[in-house]
Symmetry: C2
Subunit: 364 residues, 2 copies
Amino acid sequence: MLPVYRGVRRSLNVVYLSQVVKRSASGLCSSLTYDEYGDPEKVIKLKEEVIPKPEGKQVLVRMLAATVNPADINTIQGVYAIKPPLPSIPGNEGVGEVIEVGSDVEGDIKPGCRVIPRLNAWGTWRTHALADYGDLIKIPSDIDLAMAATIAVNPGTAYRMLKDFVPLSTGDVVIQNGANSAVGQAVIQIASALGLRTVNVVRDRPGIDELKQKLKDIGATVVVTEGQLRKSEEVNSLPKPSLALNCVSGRSGTEVLRQLSSNGVMVTYGGMSRQPVTVPVGSLIFTNVSLKGFWMTRWNKEHYDHPKRQQMLNDLFELVSHNKLKPPEYSYVPLENYLEAIRNAMPKDGMLSKKQILVFGNGK
Amino acid sequence: MLPVYRGVRRSLNVVYLSQVVKRSASGLCSSLTYDEYGDPEKVIKLKEEVIPKPEGKQVLVRMLAATVNPADINTIQGVYAIKPPLPSIPGNEGVGEVIEVGSDVEGDIKPGCRVIPRLNAWGTWRTHALADYGDLIKIPSDIDLAMAATIAVNPGTAYRMLKDFVPLSTGDVVIQNGANSAVGQAVIQIASALGLRTVNVVRDRPGIDELKQKLKDIGATVVVTEGQLRKSEEVNSLPKPSLALNCVSGRSGTEVLRQLSSNGVMVTYGGMSRQPVTVPVGSLIFTNVSLKGFWMTRWNKEHYDHPKRQQMLNDLFELVSHNKLKPPEYSYVPLENYLEAIRNAMPKDGMLSKKQILVFGNGK
């Protein structure tokens, strides 16, 4: 009888054995799967299938933790820029442990080591996966599991936006909105470690003082609400920023754009307000600001096995090991309770709750 | 008695002799001057003053033709990015003839040669000027006067936008709105000479078919109205443009932005709609378009005597000499009729009439 991994009950309503495998099987894999785009609470099903033993260059990975990001939700809804072929297993991000490797697997991927996927849309919402070893990146095994599961997308985005658009030196100022987002918190911490100062714009909300203190505690130089930005003496006493990071767009995007110095760059990586970015013509012509976009998925695709990618991960893990980069607040959610994770991963009134991280049995 | 240049009547209401010169005088100079910002028809006065003989590195230039550009109007109104110290003589652009040079003038600036100013806000709306020879650029004497008077700002803007933002090869497509503007017509001609194809967007108007033909006659590949752009088979059959040039902004800017290929760049150099540029978030993140601005004044300042500047002028005059670059439709207006030129240089319903070129006596 095939072993059942990670305590997923075999009495689930939906059990598929879609792959009739002739070679020897490793066991059963449970995965969240959808075969039509739509409301994630309706189209996502928990399925079970036999997973074969790894052969050749294949690696059998058991997932330990996988993030439920807003982009995953939008992908399932069919409203994201990427529409994977169906049926599809969601999940761009997560950390797993190598269980078994095929005979042709080379390099440092060995049983017991921890790995993250090199590919976007790899499908991390499952207990197990077979992958070519080249599509996995080995990471340190002593990293906190939640940090390892969430390091690729959000801290990666923060790191690249701070590195790739404007040359920055110690003491330079970066402004961002949505500063309490997962990327925003990573920006604060990485910028602080790089000796940069940050102006952090957040939406006014109940408990704003505690939020400001929380962001200052992780390294924010100044935290202001959108309404305070223009008149803030703290902001006005700093040099003008040459880099603005925008995940809100709409009016908030325009406001941070207006703070930029001559020749400054605003990088847009989100549109939480569901509004476009509105740019005063004079900012472009006379202040010579530029607007660019950033999308981690594209960057990873273009730097699939580029040394810059490994360098980025090394730098990020270095920060983690020195306690300079921590994950945002999160909740571990057992795979079976995936509906709870999906519900909590959708923004309410433009606000996100804690990062939802799926865990698989005793993985954490 | 001092000679009176260029037929400007000495019976003008406003005659100033603001400079009591001790050195020998060249004669009387008439200039348009303003000493407060406001409605150009009210604040601009025609003044007359004694102009001294050139000494040292100075050159006495008699102006032959000077353009009245919308930016000049905005500067006088006090609503432009540059506010020159008052009193000020308007005019960024024009061509003059060297009359006399000081004893220390070196190089190729000699009596009889034609020159354009190297500096912005040099003040071309006057019959004569004394200038340091380093602030003048010698140009060929056989160039049509209207072309020489209008080559610096608009063809310069077109040239730089085609050269400096996106690498373009033969057959590549550039899209622009405001295609009938002075810059737009220069873009069409320079792009055509470079072997590029252009998609030209114009506002619908009476006589649209004649306008389309006119732009095709100077080298436009496709001309469409704003309403036709999205559905035009002619446009859709071309490769997507990697460069968009935007002088309208508002909805028109968004529409040309949407036509861009992945990694495309939209350069904004005007806001004729008086609306900001609205950018869909997905264009930035997923299509990876960038938005930049261009301002000839800044470029000239940053490339005051840079070899690129002379190269640009050489290239433009080369096009002119091969009949590949012509001035836009223009009217010569005698200095005394400056009110007519100012009135006609202001957009009506977002449309500009013929380029207004001030001429001075028998200069043309």
